[in-house]
């Protein structure tokens, strides 16, 4: 077989694209992810569908594809391990009061921003980003402000653009919400729906979160997104949750994820929902989201994505824990699960004032890509789920998780199949019909 990358070089104009074939409800569907195309083909022709096709369109290039080891164009700051809520399902350890309060030092924030700016200059990237995360990042609000100011000034000095984002539980003073609306590029608020659901999940914080969301929405409508965590209790109410958010915050982006059995999520009565029920709730939410001009997403549904990996865990994430450790996964670095250490590959050396990386661990992390999962090789859903979250898989199966399919593989395949049919049947901006 001719390698696509070689083909691109020698033939200059043509590239080779893999096709993925599946049958859903007795209908033959072909996906060409690298061309962004879905075809329905008569079942009688199924045996004639080529495994590869040639096209003048180039293969997509992810922003991660051309980076060298330890090159990062953005950083996620876990500003503190403190939180002002006690959500039952939180992935962080469920004894935060017993642990020491740690706040990320400003010198580490500055060093990390200088580091990503240097990387951007090395590769000629036009943009750097910083995301503020926690714990609850707004408990370290001065660090947010200093970090954003440093990001903006560093980008300006180097002639590149910057993107500052935050994920927050929304429990904050109005002044802080106004500052975020005016100074961040994107703000994601954890919001689980109407009060009868949100208050049960998230420490009776509905009133405060709703006020914050309304404040930000009123100032910067386009910047707001919501993270909805769905439990076994709320899963059947997912369409109602979408209706609530759509009605109050039309045109917003809504990221919907199930509770996962880690940290506090293990022993809570609002635990991990049934996978099929979760995906069905998502499907039932689609027409509601469309009605309000909202866009909904869940992490294994990656329509139009260029990358072949689920997330930046295979060596692309630069996440800094409150104590200065560097990890590829925020969940694994703030949880005491024994496998979490495998996802931590460096730290900030306070004497040398530089980041020090463990190459052996980093090289192992780089292998955590779906191309080492045999079951994913020819799977039609793989361009969406991309092997699913390696951290969650590691919790489920700490030994063989790198090469095994997701614990919810069957449900994902059924879901992606239904999504593909939904896109075909509901038209969207359908290009062409043939008899």
């Amino acid at each position: 077989m001719i390698l696509p990358s070689v083909c691109q070089i020698v033939s200059c104009a043509m590239s080779i694209h893999k096709t993925f074939i599946t049958t859903i409800n007795d209908r033959c569907i072909v996906i060409v992810p690298s061309l962004g195309k879905i075809f329905e083909i008569d079942n009688s022709l199924k045996g004639s569908i080529p495994a590869f096709i040639e096209s003048g369109d180039p293969l997509p290039v992810s922003r991660w594809d051309n980076l060298k080891d330890f090159q990062f164009l953005g950083v996620n700051f876990l500003l503190t391990n403190r939180c002002n809520l006690r959500c039952g399902y939180c992935y962080e350890d469920d004894k935060p009061c017993a642990s020491e309060a740690i706040f990320l030092k400003d010198e580490i924030i500055y060093a990390a921003i200088d580091y990503v700016a240097q990387c951007a200059l090395e590769v000629g990237a036009p943009r750097i980003y910083a995301n503020m995360f926690g714990g609850e990042p707004t408990l370290s609000f001065k660090s947010i402000q200093k970090g954003v100011n440093k990001l903006r000034s560093t980008a300006q000095k180097n002639g590149i653009i910057s993107r500052a984002t935050i994920t927050t539980n929304g429990v904050m003073d109005k002044d802080k919400a106004i500052w975020l609306a005016n100074n961040m590029d994107a703000i994601t608020i954890s919001f689980d729906g109407p009060p009868e659901i949100h208050n049960l999940h998230r420490s009776n914080s509905f009133d405060a979160v709703f006020k914050t969301a309304k404040t930000i929405f009123g100032i910067a409508t386009q910047k707001i997104s919501f993270r909805v965590t769905v439990s076994s209790m709320s899963v059947t109410k997912l369409p109602m949750i979408t209706e609530f958010l759509g009605k109050n915050f039309p045109k917003s982006r809504i990221f919907i994820e199930p509770v996962f059995s880690i940290g506090g999520g293990i022993n809570t009565k609002y635990g991990m929902p049934d996978h099929s029920a979760f995906f069905q709730g998502f499907l039932d939410s689609l027409p509601i989201a469309e009605n309000y001009g909202c866009k909904i997403k869940t992490s294994i549904l990656n329509i139009g994505a260029k990358s072949k990996q689920f997330c930046g865990a295979p060596g692309n994430n630069f996440m800094i824990a409150p104590d200065g450790r560097v990890s590829v996964c925020n969940r694994m670095v703030t949880n005491s699960n024994p496998i979490g250490d495998k996802f931590t590959y460096g730290k900030f050396d306070e004497k040398l004032k530089i980041f020090v990386f463990d190459a052996e661990k980093y090289n192992w992390l780089k292998t955590l890509r779906p191309n080492i999962i045999p079951a994913c090789e020819n799977c039609f859903a793989s361009s969406n789920c991309r092997g699913d979250c390696v951290a969650n898989k590691a919790i489920v199966d700490p030994v063989s998780f790198p090469t095994t399919p997701s614990y919810r593989c069957q449900e994902i395949r059924e879901f992606i199949g239904k999504i593909l049919l939904y896109i075909i049947d509901h038209g969207g901006e359908q290009i062409e019909w043939r008899e």
């Binding site: 879905i38 982006r253 994505a305 969207g428 359908q430 019909w433």
Partner: protein, 50 residues
């Protein structure tokens, strides 16, 4: 090697995957610009990939 035109000739329907965007589905190529993937808390950390 077959071309995309050959595949088109076999198809009864062809849909651009980004048309999902008009159906309420978040699509990376339209909603993230050139962003891609998940940088942090999967599916919603407000960072680039989301």
């Amino acid at each position: 090697m077959p071309t995309i035109e050959d595949l088109r000739q076999m198809a009864t329907t062809e849909v651009d995957i980004s048309s999902a965007n008009a159906l309420g589905i978040f699509t990376s190529n339209r909603d993230c610009g050139d962003n891609d993937g998940c940088d942090g808390d999967c599916g919603g950390d407000g960072s680039e990939g989301c």
